[in-house]
């Protein structure tokens, strides 16, 4: 596609439920990143994938968070047993490769935990 596509754009769910967020990167981009942005805050790094290398999971805040990527295409971020503090906008970005490359962001998924 022309840009990074994320779905759903909004998700409201009850505390304790699992949610799955999807990211479709720009075609040909080997690197894919997930960030969390709380209201009025900066972007918090969560995880990134580069080609077939093991993902850098160092930013995942707890074991309730996990992410997968199929080859160099779609990625899903899963949050299990959601908590109210998980409420945020989750942004996905992709770049041609890792390191010294501009990151192109999707519009994000706004997650609200009731």
């Amino acid at each position: 596609g022309a840009g990074v596509s994320q779905s759903p754009s909004n998700k409201v769910t009850e505390k304790g439920k699992d949610v799955e967020l999807r990211c479709d990167p720009i075609s040909g981009h080997t690197a894919l990143y997930w960030y969390r942005q709380r209201l009025g805050q900066g972007l918090e790094f969560l995880i990134y994938f580069q080609g077939n290398s093991a993902p850098d999971k160092s930013g995942l805040p707890s074991d309730r968070f996990s992410a997968e990527r199929t080859g160099e295409s779609v990625s899903t971020l899963t949050i299990q047993r959601t908590q109210q503090e998980d409420s945020a906008v989750y942004l996905c970005a992709s770049s041609l490769q890792t390191g010294n490359q501009p990151q192109h962001f999707g519009d994000g998924t706004r997650l609200s935990i009731l």
Partner: protein
């Protein structure tokens, strides 16, 4: 690891200049600058790699002092369209290459 941005907010009249600073406590490989308008995705402005490097985008330019681990974004003759939140993202070397740490942002408001 999060860089420190200053100031937190800037209010300008159209045509005025502004400087936004970004500093890190870690050795840096590169500094990225992004602008985010309310409710929208961040948009890439520029990357600076080498110490002393300067780049420009429209009337927005930036510098990177590798030794001081600092970068500054210069907005000259500001336009209404420059309003938004500016984030710097810093990238370290070695095992952290590829991982961007963003500052808390500088909110820029330009009035006519």
């Amino acid at each position: 690891q999060q860089p420190v941005q200053s100031p937190q907010a800037v209010i300008l009249r159209e045509g005025e200049d502004a400087v936004i600073n970004c500093s890190s406590s870690k050795a840096l490989y590169s500094v990225h600058w992004y602008r985010q308008k309310h409710g929208e995705a961040p948009v890439f402005l520029m990357i600076l790699l080498k110490g002393g490097e300067q780049k420009g985008h429209e009337k927005i330019s930036a510098s990177f002092n590798e030794k001081k681990q600092q970068s500054s974004l210069y907005l000259t003759a500001s336009q209404l369209s420059y309003s938004g939140t500016y984030f710097c993202g810093t990238e370290g070397r070695g095992s952290t290459l590829g991982r961007l740490y963003f500052g808390r942002g500088t909110q820029l408001t330009v009035w006519p």
